[in-house]
């Protein structure tokens, strides 16, 4: 046996890959240049940041509008998760390519893509215009976002189900609704509950933000405190938001473990 095989033959990088990496580096340099980064700016920024952090201490929890804001965020998160996931079920059933003809599933996918493309806060801006300031706009905005997200995940879950059970249900002479209720839903219900828990967690995070555009919740309180330069109050609100989000994340994990 001739020993002509060397290490390089196996691990030689391809020209195409090198070109992609080179292109990536050029892009990064270009994109970094557009950010307007300069040493002097960073230095000054860090100075401001230090002053800022000093303004945060001690955090102020005493103002009375923290608790109502937090509770309103919770209300927005719960209600939008309920409406969003309920609406997502029919949308997902319509979008699943293994259940519906192509034309129908495309229209479902269009709805999902549309709902998913816009950040909840952008939807909230439009919702505030449509139904005025307050929690209702937040609920509508997060509901639309939830339809997009849960709809997509659920549609994918439905596309992965086993055909055998559907065939078995169909062989008993079940109607279309019968197939959906006894053949499709039981196969995805546990994953669906996981998605609901995940989406509730995501809605909780976003419900703390929609207030920035006037759609209710703690975000409005935070934004106005920020504009008043009331930094110790800002610190108090941010700590409360972090605590709320952490609790949400833990609860989501608990729910997922229960329904595994």
């Amino acid at each position: 046996m001739s020993a002509t095989v060397t290490r390089d033959d196996f691990f030689a990088p391809s020209i195409g890959r090198r070109l992609i990496y080179a292109g990536l580096i050029v892009y990064v340099v270009y994109a970094a240049a557009t950010l307007g980064l300069s040493l002097e700016r960073i230095e000054r920024g860090i100075g401001y940041g230090a002053r800022f952090l000093a303004g945060f201490f001690p955090p102020d929890f005493t103002k009375s509008d923290i608790l109502p804001g937090l509770l309103e965020s919770l209300q927005i998160a719960f209600l939008s998760s309920l409406f969003g996931t309920l609406l997502a079920i029919p949308v997902a059933l319509v979008s699943a390519r293994n259940l519906m003809p192509r034309v129908v599933s495309w229209s479902g996918r269009l709805i999902i893509t549309f709902c998913r493309s816009f950040h909840p806060v952008i939807i909230a801006i439009i919702a505030v215009k449509a139904i005025g300031f307050g929690a209702a706009a937040g609920v509508v905005a997060l509901t639309i976002a939830s339809v997009g997200f849960v709809g997509k995940l659920l549609a994918e879950a439905i596309e992965e189900i086993s055909e055998k059970q559907i065939e078995a249900v169909r062989a008993t002479g079940a109607s279309f609704m019968g197939v959906i209720v006894f053949g499709v839903i039981p196969q995805v219900v546990n994953r669906f509950i996981g998605f609901v828990a995940y989406e509730t967690d995501a809605n909780l995070r976003n419900s703390t933000m929609v207030g920035v555009v006037g759609a209710g919740g703690i975000g409005g309180t935070l934004f106005s405190a920020f504009q008043r330069f009331d930094y110790d109050f800002v610190a108090g609100i941010v700590i409360c938001i972090i605590a709320l989000v952490m609790v949400g994340e833990v609860l989501q994990l608990v729910v997922k473990r229960v329904f595994r």
Binding site: E72, F78, S117, H119, V121, V213, V245
Partner: protein, 270 residues
């Protein structure tokens, strides 16, 4: 599955143990209670809701026809800034998140206090919403894309680090033991052992986060942190709804294009 004895002495299979049933019931109960409480206490102004169809019709009529005249020179520069912000934020997030991810992985860093510290950093950064990070960085570095990129980067760290550390913890023990047998240092084990095994996770996390970051970078302008959101904000402040419609359409196109691109790259790389 668990086995229970019925009163007649016969044995019967049931799907869940009593503890599992109680846990499920508790989750259902908590969910219903949360919704009932929210529905009863949420403050909604009924006049605004009654007014909604009228308002939506009014908005729709003012959004159409879409005003293309603003595309150049106002919308395009802001639009092109948005994917840049997302890309820089993703890279910066990866640069910070991957080392912290290695520190958080119990097998790559067998030092409990370092694991806990890293996990705390990941949870804390993840818990602060992007817009709040953006408010801070705008106050630090002034309005502009730099603040936006930093805001998304710091928010992404938590997500990237968490997913990546889970990928590292799933790495096979065999190659690591082989490296240990050759006398590799902990750093060499990471570079030669864990990193190659976690590479698929790395690509999947990077692409997934890039996709999310494009969407996020579209809102940052609302607090002055650059991108298309700045144009959106000023169009809304000027109540020019035909211009708002144009901006929303361009955001939609960018997001769909990037998502298509991500799916393509994912098919090729993973």
């Amino acid at each position: 599955m668990s086995l229970v004895a019925t009163t007649e002495g016969a044995r019967r299979w049931v799907r869940f143990t009593p503890a599992e049933r109680m846990a499920r019931f508790a989750v259902y109960l908590a969910g219903v209670a949360a919704i009932v409480w929210s529905a009863r206490t949420i403050e909604i102004i009924p006049e605004f809701l009654l007014d909604a169809p009228e308002q939506v019709a009014d908005m729709g009529s003012r959004m159409w026809p879409i005003d293309w005249r603003h595309f150049w020179p106002e919308v395009w520069p802001a639009l092109i800034e948005t994917p840049h912000i997302a890309a820089m934020a993703t890279l910066l997030g990866l640069a910070m998140g991957i080392p912290i991810g290695f520190l958080a992985a119990r097998n790559a860093t067998p030092v409990p206090w370092l694991n806990h510290l890293a996990r705390f950093i990941l949870v804390a950064t993840r818990s602060i919403p992007t817009l709040i990070w953006a408010l801070f960085f705008v106050a630090m570095f002034g309005p502009g894309p730099l603040a936006g990129a930093l805001a998304i980067a710091f928010h992404s760290v938590g997500f990237i680090g968490k997913m990546f550390s889970e990928g590292v913890e799933e790495a096979a023990r065999g190659p690591i033991e082989a490296l240990t047998a050759t006398g590799a240092t902990p750093m060499q084990k990471i570079v030669m052992g864990y990193w190659p095994m976690a590479l698929p996770t790395f690509w999947s996390v990077a692409l997934f986060r890039w996709d999310i970051n494009v969407r996020e970078s579209a809102v940052l302008g609302l607090v002055g942190a650059g991108g298309i959101g700045v144009a959106l904000n000023s169009a809304i402040d000027l109540i020019q709804w035909d211009r708002v419609a144009l901006i929303l359409l361009t955001i939609f196109v960018v997001v769909v294009v990037i998502e298509w691109l991500v799916t393509r790259i994912r098919e090729r790389v993973i």
